[in-house]
């Protein structure tokens, strides 16, 4: 029985026995292990690193020379750390997950027209994988993309769209929402791009700007306010989650049979 089931909020990793704290890590050190002496030093260094990471006792189960200057290690050990669930902060999904049929119904009844979504990657980012996974009919992870929703009209502008063009095209299409995916993260390119987008839309449209949604594998969903956008989606987001969020935010709650 786990600690939580016992009513406590403190847990440790599970190897093969409750509370044993056993984990595995792998890493590389810039040390040679060509000779027996070098190898002993390298393994000792790996054990020291493991101890400093809180892995104690630790066992270096694998050490392999990678070229003349590096050694790769796999280490199993016991962590002394405790996780207090009371201190864990989770960004809870603030909207219910809906099926495609529910999404379409909701748009029909609440908007009475198609919901317009404009998508792009901006700036230097040429990776359309993210935006295509959400927008393309083919979708992602077994879920079809937003193009497949009867009541959503998708305008996919593709890669490396200039922010000013995105603002213009979103205006021309009467976009309800603008989706931007950013994959490139070197020198925080994704953060800069998100800020640039929110500033440009706010400057051009003020409060009348469309809903701004950014996504990408390296985004943290908690960053939305800091970036000036309405919602941030991280790794593993599916088209259905995005569609559910859009209708939750853009369409008023259904009120009985009023429609």
């Amino acid at each position: 029985m786990s600690a939580t089931e016992q009513g406590g909020t403190v847990i440790r990793p599970y190897g093969d026995t409750t509370g044993d704290g056993r984990i595995q890590v792998s890493f590389t050190l810039p040390l040679p292990s060509g000779t027996e002496e070098e190898r002993a030093l390298a393994e000792g260094a790996a054990a020291q690193l493991a101890a400093k990471m809180g892995l104690e006792p630790a066992m270096v189960v694998h050490a392999k020379a990678m070229g003349p200057d590096f050694t790769f290690f796999i280490v199993y050990g016991t962590v002394r750390h405790l996780v207090d669930l009371a201190d864990v902060k989770v960004a809870r999904r603030e909207f219910p997950l809906m099926s495609a049929a529910e999404v379409n119904r909701r748009i029909r009844s609440a908007l009475g027209r198609e919901l317009v979504v404009v998508g792009a990657t901006v700036g230097v980012d040429a990776h359309t994988v993210g935006i295509d996974a959400i927008l393309n009919v083919k979708g992602h992870a077994g879920e079809k993309g937003l193009e497949s929703y009867a009541e959503i009209r998708v305008v996919n502008l593709g890669a490396q769209v200039a922010v000013a063009d995105l603002v213009d095209r979103a205006g021309a299409a009467h976009a309800d929402a603008v989706l931007v995916s950013q994959v490139v993260t070197q020198r925080d390119a994704h953060i800069k791009a998100a800020r640039e987008i929110s500033e440009a839309f706010t400057a051009a449209r003020g409060a009348a700007r469309p809903l701004l949604v950014v996504g990408g594998p390296r985004f943290d969903p908690a960053m939305a306010p800091e970036l000036g956008v309405d919602r941030v989606f991280g790794r593993g987001t599916t088209p259905r989650e995005v569609a559910s969020y859009l209708v939750h935010t853009l369409t008023p709650e259904p009120q009985g049979n009023a429609a």
Partner: protein
């Protein structure tokens, strides 16, 4: 021209395929491609014209704005008298009559509006032609010498056996790329690909010099090409094995990058007929015109092209869209052969991207890979590892990569791009690459000769699936030939992306050739230089 026959697989037929259907597929690809070739023969682009200047010896950039001299000169000629006759006649006319010591000096004056270009006539035209032809002759002599140098290097070291192990480096900094590439070669890589900075496809100029800043890749520049090739020559000699270098002749500067690759002895270039259109929203006409010229240069330089069909499967479903891969391969083959590439230079691409949750997914992959192998028996096929279903579970990903390696070994693929278990998480760690190489080495050691013993039963699942994909390819090709390739691309036939013929970037850089269009590079590439050298046209 020095020959370079690195024979591709000597694949014996394993699956029974209807030869009449195979023939029809090729004929249909030719029917679909012919109007495109006709368009390419009657048009030029700013990048083709800039490539002519690069082959004529013009390099370097304006210190004021960093813009390459070839851009300044082509822009100035375009403004003065248009590019419909090509850049060569007005440029070399201005060089000769203006008494400039070099094209760079001319470009420098042209950049500040000091040169008035004209279309020379009579004796002036003949003089400009002669001067241009002499300059281009030097450029092609250099490309030919580079090709001979490659042959000599291979003789002095050794040509590694296939499959060639293909690894990527992409730090953004050429001086970081070099030790990484050398380490990868020492660990077993036969081919090093330097991924370009992600913004480069849509730049309408080629950056200059050694670069240390890039986004998810390193800029393709002539100096970066030279530095990396020299570093790989060193490691090739050290290892007694020729390590090939790959870059990307794609995007808006495809022809120029092809020229630089030939001048600096790159060995393979990514060069797809439709990739830029579908995935980078580059104008279809621009892409096809640039592509033909770039492939003619690759043919001359002994460079193997790699096509990009694997990309279709990252947006479309790998089972449903298997036939679109084959259709694109057939088109790439047609366009490639038309541009004088030999079969051994056609590194047609495909990928292992079927959802592993699909029953019999490995059998389907085997059927697709074997079909491609049999359809293009002499081509150095490039097989791409799973990316779409690499979920972050590195342990499951490592297993999937092993199955990819096994499928590659079993079906005699020529170039294996090595899959990383950390695909989609980060640019590979040193250890990711090392583990990936351990994976492929194990599979090749344990099962490298499995192909000889692999005979799927006639009429069985694998054979039937291959026959089905071939039949679907023929159907799609019929549809494409009926509506025209440009319309098919506009309809979203490839990669589920719609790309109209007049949309996308770079259309303003497409120019219809006028009567009397002169392109000395094309004359060399299409075997008309002897007329030029005799002073005729």
């Amino acid at each position: 021209m020095p020959g370079s026959e690195h024979a591709g697989g000597t694949a014996k037929p394993v699956l029974s395929l209807d030869p009449a259907m195979v023939r029809e597929a090729r004929e249909l690809a030719a029917v679909a491609g012919r109007p495109i070739v006709e368009m390419a023969r009657t048009h030029t682009t700013v990048s083709v014209e800039r490539a002519v200047l690069r082959l004529g010896g013009l390099g370097g950039a304006d210190p004021d704005d960093g813009m390459p001299w070839v851009n300044h000169l082509v822009d100035a000629v375009a403004e003065s008298c248009g590019l419909q006759h090509g850049v060569a006649l007005p440029a070399w006319d201005a060089l000769v009559t203006g008494g400039y010591p070099s094209l760079a000096a001319l470009a420098s004056d042209a950049a500040t509006g000091k040169v008035k270009f004209r279309l020379p006539e009579g004796g002036d035209a003949a003089a400009a032609r002669l001067a241009a032809t002499a300059a281009l002759s030097d450029g092609f002599a250099r490309i030919d010498a580079r090709r001979a140098e490659r042959e000599a290097m291979i003789k002095a070291t050794a040509d590694p056996p296939k499959p060639w192990i293909y690894l990527i480096v992409a730090t953004g900094d050429i001086y970081e790329d070099i030790p990484q590439a050398q380490a990868a070669a020492r660990e077993g890589a036969d081919i090093i690909a330097v991924i370009r900075s992600t913004g480069q496809s849509l730049l309408d100029y080629v950056p200059e010099g050694a670069t240390r800043e890039g986004f998810a890749g390193t800029y393709a520049t002539r100096e970066n090409f030279r530095l990396m090739r020299a570093a790989l020559d060193d490691v090739s000699r050290e290892l007694g094995r020729y390590v090939r270098l790959t870059n990307y002749a794609s995007g808006l500067c495809m022809p120029e990058i092809a020229a630089l690759a030939g001048l600096e002895r790159l060995d393979m270039m990514l060069n797809d007929c439709m990739y830029g259109i579908i995935f980078r929203d580059i104008n279809p006409r621009r892409t096809f015109i640039d592509q033909r010229f770039s492939r003619q240069i690759h043919a001359r330089a002994g460079i193997i092209i790699n096509t990009g069909e694997d990309n279709y499967l990252t947006t479309a479903d790998a089972v449903d869209a298997a036939h679109t891969v084959m259709v694109s391969q057939l088109l790439n083959e047609y366009f490639g052969r038309e541009a004088s590439l030999a079969e051994w230079q056609l590194g047609l691409g495909h990928a292992f991207e079927i959802n592993p949750a699909v029953p019999d997914s490995f059998l389907l992959e085997l059927a697709h890979a074997q079909l491609v192998r049999q359809l293009f028996p002499g081509a150095p096929l490039k097989y791409m590892p799973p990316t779409k279903y690499m979920t972050g579970n590195v342990f499951a990903g490592y297993l999937l990569d092993a199955f990819f390696n096994l499928c590659g070994a079993l079906t005699d693929q020529s170039i294996l791009l090595i899959g990383m278990m950390t695909e989609g998480i980060h640019t590979p760690f040193l250890s990711d690459r090392d583990l990936a190489l351990e994976n492929v080495r194990y599979v090749l050691r344990a099962a490298g000769r499995l192909g000889e013993n692999f005979r799927p039963p006639p009429g069985g699942f694998v054979e039937k699936r291959a026959q089905q994909v071939l039949a679907e390819s023929v159907d799609l090709l019929r549809r494409i030939t009926a509506e025209g390739l440009l319309n098919a691309i506009a309809d979203g036939t490839f990669g589920v992306t719609r790309r109209p013929a007049d949309g996308g970037r770079g259309l303003d850089g497409v120019i219809e050739r006028a009567d009397g269009y002169f392109n000395p590079a094309s004359d060399f590439l299409e075997g008309r230089e002897q007329f030029l050298e005799a002073g005729r046209s």
